[in-house]
């Protein structure tokens, strides 16, 4: 496997507080990789070290084959960054932000205008491109920042909480935009987030981070599968009879009633729906409705860290 980012026991300490504790991260080329964790988990610190903003206390990291400490300049040329907090100048226009960025990153004069036009097209600022940023909406500002990170055609785009503080509709737009980007350009996206839904929808692979450490890393699907906790919700005409009979089935891990519904905890629920319906029929029980629910990343997070992501610490 070809990894564009690799860290080896990377650690950042502040006095006696360890923000990032020997993290080993491997990000496959051209993937969307998510670092998921609650506020204060060390996500931003980790990303800052990979962006050469912070120097690691110990351990090493390479980005696009360059060491983040020894070849900081080459790393910077290979990456685009969208910070968690806004990094725009109110009194410049969107186009000027892109022009300035292109100049700072040494985009050749010949292709500069073309690149800027391409990016403006992509982020769909329309006529707003030539207005001051202070007139932009939150979503436009974010799009501009993402677009700016792309002007110099980076190999890796870092997004630190890209949809923090945006309304749900804008958030969906940004998601759509990031997946479109990942498909159309040969770019790797490394993003941090504390939104489960975001990681679930966007990321090919997710690393769960808590208290400075990576607890688990895999695809969202595998992570959820690992939990072995699908829920089947079933509604039948003879509720008590069904529960009594179904209790004895070996694939049923847990069964209980909730109002007029029965909840059954199983593994790999998609293979069992058919069997459950047959089982009910054999016992002359009528199934009125049946529904399968996979665990979400929130459940995964709780099972690995013991706390809900939104609770924080």
């Amino acid at each position: 496997m070809d990894y564009i980012i690799e860290t080896k026991d990377i650690t950042k300490k502040y006095d006696d507080f360890t923000a990032v504790n020997s993290v080993n991260l491997k990000v496959p080329r051209e993937s969307v990789y998510g670092v998921l964790g609650p506020n204060g988990a060390g996500k931003t610190t980790l990303i800052s070290m990979l962006c050469t903003i912070l120097r690691p206390t110990s351990g090493t990291a390479t980005v696009n084959g360059y060491n983040v400490e020894k070849n900081a300049k080459e790393v910077r040329e290979s990456i685009g960054i969208v910070f968690q907090s806004r990094a725009l100048d109110d009194i410049l226009t969107g186009r000027e932000h892109l022009e300035m960025h292109a100049a700072l990153y040494g985009v050749p004069q010949k292709v500069r205008q073309k690149r800027i036009d391409e990016v403006l097209d992509l982020i769909a600022l329309g006529s707003k491109a030539d207005e001051y940023v202070k007139t932009y909406s939150g979503g436009m500002k974010r799009r501009l920042e993402i677009g700016r990170g792309l002007v110099h055609r980076p190999k890796v785009l870092f997004l630190d909480e890209p949809t923090l503080g945006l309304d749900p509709q804008t958030r969906e737009n940004i998601w759509e935009y990031i997946s479109k980007l990942n498909k159309s350009e040969d770019i790797t996206v490394l993003m941090t987030t504390h939104y489960m839904e975001e990681a679930d929808k966007l990321c090919d692979e997710v690393a769960i981070m808590d208290q400075g450490q990576i607890i688990m890393a895999d695809s969202p699907l595998n992570l959820k599968r690992e939990l072995k906790a699908d829920t089947i919700t079933i509604k039948v005409d003879k509720q008590d009879l069904f529960i009594n009979k179904a209790k004895k089935l070996d694939y049923v891990k847990k069964i209980y009633s909730e109002d007029s519904y029965i909840k059954i905890m199983v593994e790999r629920g998609e293979n069992l729906i058919h069997q459950l319906v047959n089982f009910a029929n054999q016992n002359n029980i009528m199934v009125e409705s049946i529904e399968l629910q996979h665990p979400n990343l929130e459940d995964v997070f709780i099972s690995y860290t013991g706390t809900s992501i939104t609770e924080g610490r």
Binding site: I53, F83, L88, H101, Y105
Partner: protein, 255 residues
């Protein structure tokens, strides 16, 4: 030449900011005019100065007020890096693949441009205080204002690199800007002062700037011109160098 282009880009942004904040340009011209017209006329007619001041008190403080305008603009623009930092824009510049000295140099000449534009406006208004302006005086003053403002911008940038928030603004005003202004001899002749005060006056880099401007514009001063000019040039170079060092060293804290 990626570094040169980086310097140019940072200069361009600084200059755009200055031109787009029109209210700033207006106040930067009105404030010195108030000093010249009200303070200059008032004190000039109330007090007789020991030495003779050719052209009167208003003319005497005219180069001083130009110096003051450059001082305020340069230091506050330098300190405004703190605001850039709070708004996060500094990060965008600091993570770019260009060297810290280029960033500082670009900033310093950008700030200098803003300060010199204000100085030029004041030079053009010399008739208000009855001072004659010739092309040579104009050109020489213009050239002199460049290193003065670059050096003072360096002071502002240095302060910014060690300050976390604009809360320290009043401290900077009381401990840096006002003393530099008052000790510079902008408002009174620096010869014949009590020894302690005299020493402080000669430690103030702005003293040399104001005195050199006064010699060029009015034809008299307290320090030989070549000494003043040398001090100003050295001051500018040293301040840019030190603030570049400070940014290099404090890079992590600044982001």
């Amino acid at each position: 030449m990626p570094e040169l282009e980086g310097i140019y880009t940072i200069w361009l942004r600084e200059t755009k900011r200055f031109i787009r904040y029109r209210s700033r340009i207006l106040t930067s011209v009105v404030t010195p005019l108030l000093w010249l017209l009200i303070f200059g006329t008032g004190l000039g007619s109330a007090v007789r100065f020991g030495g003779n001041l050719p052209g009167g008190y208003q003319a005497f403080i005219y180069p001083g007020i130009i110096g003051q305008t450059i001082l305020f603009t340069a230091i506050f623009s330098g300190v405004s890096v703190i605001i850039d930092r709070q708004y996060g824009f500094l990060k965008e510049i600091l993570v770019a693949p260009i060297t810290r000295p280029s960033i500082i140099f670009g900033k310093a000449i950008g700030i200098s441009t803003a300060a010199v534009i204000q100085g030029i406006i004041l030079l053009l208004l010399s008739f208000v205080v009855g001072v004659q302006m010739t092309p040579i005086i104009f050109l020489a003053s213009f050239l002199l204002m460049i290193p003065i403002s670059v050096g003072l911008a360096g002071v502002g940038l240095l302060i910014a690199s060690f300050t976390d928030s604009m809360e320290g603004f009043n401290l900077i005003m009381s401990f840096v800007v006002l003393p530099m202004f008052l000790l510079s001899g902008a408002l009174f002749p620096v010869t014949g002062l009590p020894t302690l005060l005299q020493g402080a006056v000669y430690l103030d880099p702005l003293t040399y700037g104001v005195d050199a401007l006064r010699q060029i514009i009015l034809g008299y001063g307290a320090i030989p011109l070549y000494i003043s000019v040398t001090v100003i040039l050295v001051f500018a170079a040293v301040m840019v160098f030190i603030s570049a060092l400070a940014f290099n060293k404090r890079e992590q804290e600044l982001m």
